[in-house]
């Protein structure tokens, strides 16, 4: 009951008019940042740090945390409506979200995304409250071998991502892996495939590739369709999800919350991994997995919940240990340091006012965000009624500005367009982009984890045998891999039935 007393005091701190106002500003700014593709929460937080100089530490972190999880709410908007990932964590939402928009269910997708985000946020907060100290220790146990094992599972799941068979996704996965190797090798300093181009030292930028292949590519292929669109008033019924869609969303939402929270604890790009794994898990447990990628609500509900839950999980190493595991939490830690607070393992016990005030304000923030986002669904969907000849240049402009705002580098713009054309080509030859984009992200992570593990053990694979958690996960991934191949070779039940019907007819 200690938790409840602390929470009570936390709400006491958070419910001052000033703090609510700051929370609102943070959430609003975070949503805007999330909607704008390219700029991520980290940049949004940095921009607002000078505004916190005059505030006390609690108020400052309340506002900045608002930006952090607010961005996770907003990131789904352009993903669903325009197939442009608002930030890397929302890439997965594009797959089914945009398809739903094509079918006219865009509003419902946005609604469910906001709803799932809210539940994911609240549930991960509860986890944060109760489990912060013990989980921080758990997070420390995840060294390179464990990370490799987790990433390996994600990688194997990647094989089942494509709409078509496992074997058709393979070329795309390999292409993604190959392009992911470009850049300076982290361990030896060797330059791979950079051809003397300095901008490639850090690799082909991931966001320009994703925004290009998905957003720009979509615009290019859409120009082939008729440029005349029947514009009709969007009815409220179309904005809201049907009862069936809502029912189908519960499972993904709860699974996404759990997955996102746990994955958020892990060091590195937790949000992307969380949404990605959630999508793949949903595809696995669904009754008709072939329909994923054509507009299934589970493909939106799960990932969006997971990336919000990951925000809560990512706060744990930061607040419980003083170790920020993502750029956004690193900047938040700086903000606290400026105010004279040094988060560390003693943070929760030494600064209960700040910790519990923050937790309480995160609850309030989630409420503010759901109130902000739900009515906005109607406004955003109406954006789509803009005629194509205005909408498409607008989308291109958003992609350009978003890409440039990350590194102020014109090279990235070239990458954006090059991959836009490539995305268009992929669509024409009917190859799925999703495995390509995700392999490009995942490949370098898996390689890094494997090599660090082997460095540690001096080259011996026995290190995986010695780490129990890693071993379990690796065995699971091997089993998954065999299952993938089995499914790829043996046609599914639906295909059997179709073949039988055609044989008869």
């Amino acid at each position: 009951m200690d938790v409840l007393t602390n929470l009570y005091h936390g709400f006491h701190t958070a419910l001052t008019l000033n703090n609510i106002y700051l929370c609102f500003i943070g959430c609003l700014w975070g949503t805007i940042i999330g909607v704008l593709p390219g700029i991520g929460p980290m940049a949004g937080i940095i921009l607002l740090i000078p505004a916190t100089y005059g505030l006390d530490a609690t108020s400052a972190i309340i506002m900045l945390a608002g930006i952090y999880y607010g961005a996770m709410y907003g990131g789904s908007t352009t993903s669903i409506l325009m197939n442009i990932p608002g930030e890397s964590a929302s890439i997965v939402t594009c797959f089914d979200g945009y398809q739903m928009t094509q079918k006219g269910r865009g509003g419902a997708a946005l609604f469910v995304a906001a709803w799932g985000s809210w539940i994911g946020g609240i549930l991960s907060l509860i986890g944060l409250m109760i489990l912060a100290p013990s989980l921080a220790n758990f997070a420390m146990k995840f060294g390179p071998p464990e990370m490799f094992a987790v990433l390996l599972i994600a990688f194997v799941l990647l094989g089942s991502l494509g709409r078509d068979s496992f074997f058709k996704s393979m070329p795309m996965i390999f292409l993604g892996l190959f392009l992911g190797t470009v850049g300076m090798d982290q361990m030896t300093g060797y330059l791979r495939f950079t051809h003397g181009i300095r901008e490639l030292y850090d690799g082909i930028g991931f966001m320009p590739v994703a925004m290009g292949a998905m957003g720009v590519g979509e615009v290019l292929s859409s120009t082939e369709e008729s440029l005349v669109r029947i514009v009709h008033r969007v009815r409220l019924r179309e904005l809201l999800p049907t009862r069936q869609e809502l029912r189908a969303s519960w499972g993904p939402i709860f699974r996404g919350s759990g997955l996102g929270f746990v994955i958020g604890l892990l060091p590195g790009s937790a949000h992307v991994l969380a949404s990605f794994v959630s999508y793949l898990v949903e595809k696995r447990v669904a009754k008709n997995p072939e329909e994923f990628g054509t507009g299934r609500i589970e493909g939106v509900a799960g990932p969006e919940t997971a990336n919000n839950a990951a925000s809560g999980g990512a706060m744990i190493p930061f607040l419980g240990m003083g170790i920020p595991t993502s750029p956004a939490t690193a900047v938040m830690m700086f903000a606290l340091i400026i105010h004279g607070i040094r988060p560390g393992p003693l943070f929760i016990s030494e600064q209960p006012r700040i910790f519990w005030g923050l937790i309480a304000s995160m609850c309030i923030g989630n409420v503010i965000l759901i109130i902000l986002n739900l009515p906005l669904v109607g406004i955003f969907v109406n954006l789509l009624r803009i005629p194509f000849r205005v909408l498409f240049p607008m989308i291109l402009l958003i992609c350009l500005v978003g890409t440039y705002s990350v590194n102020y580098n014109t090279f990235d713009l070239g990458v954006l367009f090059a991959f836009g054309v490539l995305g268009y080509v992929f669509r024409k030859i009917k190859f799925d982009i999703a495995p390509f984009v995700l392999a490009m992200l995942l490949g370098p992570l898996v390689e890094e984890a494997l090599r660090l593990s082997l460095m540690r053990s001096g080259g011996s694979f026995s290190i995986f045998w010695n780490h129990r958690i890693a071993l379990t996960l690796i065995i699971s991934s091997c089993l998954l891999f065999l299952w993938n191949i089995y499914r790829g070779i043996r046609p599914s039940k639906a295909t059997w039935e179709r073949a039988l019907q055609e044989g008869e007819g």
Binding site: F334, N407, N409, M455
Partner: protein
């Protein structure tokens, strides 16, 4: 008539333009100033520059904006800074990282697109001091313990860093060379992850900076064995320097402000003046020291000497590292 008129316009334009240039230096600054930080936002030096920007703003009475241009370990942004118009409106972050990256490129046989002599130095702002840290439960109580064990078992113990040839890697290499030991290097992506691994006992030791390490020390997850600098830290007065223990390893990293070398002398003087004033402002000092770094102003001559010395040091270091790489491993 027409020709006379157009000639008059040309002359007028020329006169106005030169007057503007002269006026610009007399009334500098008349428009907002940009500072290029060649690293991703959120790091210590990025924060230092942002603090400098907000303090300098008040003194210069013009907005001072930080622009991040990361890439190629700082080369992209530094190059942009070197090639910027020398009118005093584009400053660049200078740091030890820039020097080490330049030296690395040269050693690898790639001629860098710019050199440190393409800049005029304004002054240095901070010094960041690395320390030798171990997990809290580590059996080593002093630096000598660590070095003794490493000598007994070469290439056995591991140390983590935030990236290859980065600020947390090079001090470790220097220490190992001074002490004649070898250990396995685990390059992580960023100091934060490297510290987590160290606290989780996945590695045996590391060389990290005060800002990120001190909270973990207070929380009893890490212990500091030695400071790799000439003098002890104010925040950790009980920890000896490596020099005191007999190992002459001192590799503090400096950060400072640069402008393109052809910037007019009057503007450069004004900027130097302002920078010195900033480093004396209490708000600036408080913010920087809150993160654990030290405010340390060196004027342009001192910085020039310092980075010449650094260049030589890095060149030697990289030379030795490359030799080590070329030796066949067991």
């Amino acid at each position: 008539m027409k020709r006379a008129l157009s000639f008059a316009v040309w002359v007028l334009t020329f006169v106005l333009w030169s007057v503007n240039a002269w006026a610009a230096s007399a009334d500098y600054p008349t428009k907002p100033i940009t500072i290029i930080v060649p690293f991703t936002p959120g790091g210590t030096v990025d924060f230092t520059m942002r603090t400098y920007a907000s303090t300098a703003e008040k003194l210069l009475k013009q907005p001072v904006v930080v622009v991040n241009k990361p890439g190629a370990t700082g080369m992209i942004g530094s190059l942009a800074g070197a090639q910027a118009a020398p009118d005093g409106y584009t400053l660049t972050l200078g740091s030890s990282a820039m020097i080490s990256t330049l030296e690395w490129e040269m050693i690898e046989g790639r001629k860098p697109p710019f050199s440190r002599h393409d800049f005029a130095i304004i002054g240095s702002l901070t010094m960041m001091t690395p320390m030798v840290v171990v997990p809290h439960d580590s059996p080593w109580k002093t630096l000598s313990d660590l070095l003794r064990d490493c000598k007994a078992k070469p290439e056995y113990y591991s140390f983590g860093s935030g990236g290859l040839y980065g600020g947390s890697h090079l001090p470790a290499e220097m220490l190992m060379m001074a002490a004649g030991i070898t250990a396995r290097h685990m390059p992580y992506k960023g100091a934060a992850i490297s510290l987590t691994a160290l606290a989780g006992k996945h590695d045996d030791f590391g060389t990290h900076y005060t800002a990120s390490t001190i909270p973990l020390v207070r929380g009893k997850k890490l212990r500091v064995l030695a400071i790799l600098s000439d003098r002890r830290l104010r925040s950790l007065p009980d920890v000896p320097t490596a020099k005191e223990l007999g190992f002459d390893v001192s590799c503090a990293q400096w950060s400072g402000v640069l402008v393109p070398k052809d910037t007019p002398a009057s503007i450069v003087e004004k900027l130097r003046d302002i920078t010195l004033k900033v480093t004396k402002e209490k708000t600036f000092i408080d913010l920087i020291e809150a993160t654990g770094d030290e405010v340390y102003f060196m004027n342009h001559e001192e910085v020039a000497k310092y980075w010449d010395k650094e260049s030589v040091m890095f060149a030697t270091l990289f030379g030795k590292l490359i030799e080590k790489e070329k030796k066949p491993s067991k």
